[in-house]
Symmetry: C2
């Protein structure tokens, strides 16, 4: 019926979100994307709309490839181990120098929070998905008696999410794996606390 696309959208979007991930939204120009994808800007506009829409598409692809896939992969683990594994996978990914620093979604919170309310709502939703993943794990753990029933689940989930956000900021300063693990340890120890005696509050 007409001339076909010369590129595969999935591949291009993957390249695009890596570019945004590395340099940020504003600092990545359409010409940068043209150079890195090999697709002309006019074709990008034709296929995805304007820069903002392309960024939204890239964000969604990033969420699927890097965040939701991890949550799905871990969701059948025992609840406490599930949180442990999630945190440790995030820490490992953050310490991996072969990937851009931090997380595209969280980077975007900082960058687009000023001004673009639609974008802010979107990334808030993404982060809400992760917080829910943690909250569900905590509820499972409480139901199974794997954590103290006195732990306030909502607060602890909120605390974990905040720690994860903080790790992503810390990762921008390119610390070592050990430093990130140290940063995560105190919150993880909360899961091990028991209410009974007043003796041991160890890591």
């Amino acid at each position: 019926m007409a001339r076909p696309r010369e590129f595969q959208e999935d591949e291009i979007v993957k390249t695009v979100f890596r570019a945004f991930w590395r340099r940020g939204y504003a600092a990545t120009s359409m010409r940068d994307l043209e150079a890195e994808t090999g697709v002309g800007t006019a074709s990008l506009y034709n296929a995805f709309g304007d820069k903002r829409a392309l960024f939204r598409t890239a964000l969604e692809a990033y969420m699927d490839a890097h965040i939701r896939s991890r949550m799905r992969r871990l969701e059948r683990m025992a609840p406490v181990a599930r949180i442990d594994a999630f945190v440790h996978e995030v820490v490992s990914a953050l310490a991996d120098d072969s990937e851009p620093a931090g997380c595209l979604v969280i980077n975007s919170v900082m960058e687009s929070a000023a001004g673009d309310r639609g974008m802010r709502d979107y990334v808030a939703g993404c982060i809400g998905e992760v917080e829910e993943f943690i909250r569900v794990a905590l509820e499972d753990a409480a139901a199974q008696g794997a954590i103290s029933p006195d732990l306030p689940v909502r607060d602890v989930a909120c605390g974990f999410m905040t720690m994860l956000l903080g790790l992503h900021v810390a990762a921008k300063l390119r610390p070592g794996l050990c430093a990130l693990e140290s940063a995560a340890r105190p919150m993880l120890s909360v899961l091990r606390h028991r209410t009974f005696p007043a003796g041991r509050a160890k890591s």
Copy 2:
């Protein structure tokens, strides 16, 4: 000897760091600064150097006015109360809509971490000052027996700093004061020796 300045540097720098704080480094143009300070760009270049140097000057002024002053004001409190007060002041400031969102230094971690190593080292130093403030407080607390001697001071300090970083990301999404307090509560509970006091842990 020569024509005198028509502006007071301190005042201008204060206006400048507020502008960078609100919109970020890249998104604040020299013309924006000209409009907000009432000082022509040529005068800004003459007085401060280029945009990057002006930003460094602004960062330093921000640190003194908003961070170091707080640490100095609290440093004579009892150690656990000192940490409590610091965290709660940060939370209150973050929930205050009359000031720009987040913290200029932490915003800069996210923005300038890519590329500008000099800037990254500088903001890493700023954050190191805060982490040291917390670490010293924890050491004081341990020495006084105000916290369990088994708490790993370095890890907990690192955990607190990470939580603080995370709070500043969360604040960009403009949650309420209560949500920020919930986010901080689990880490604060680590200080109360053992675990969540079984009774009063709800919001």
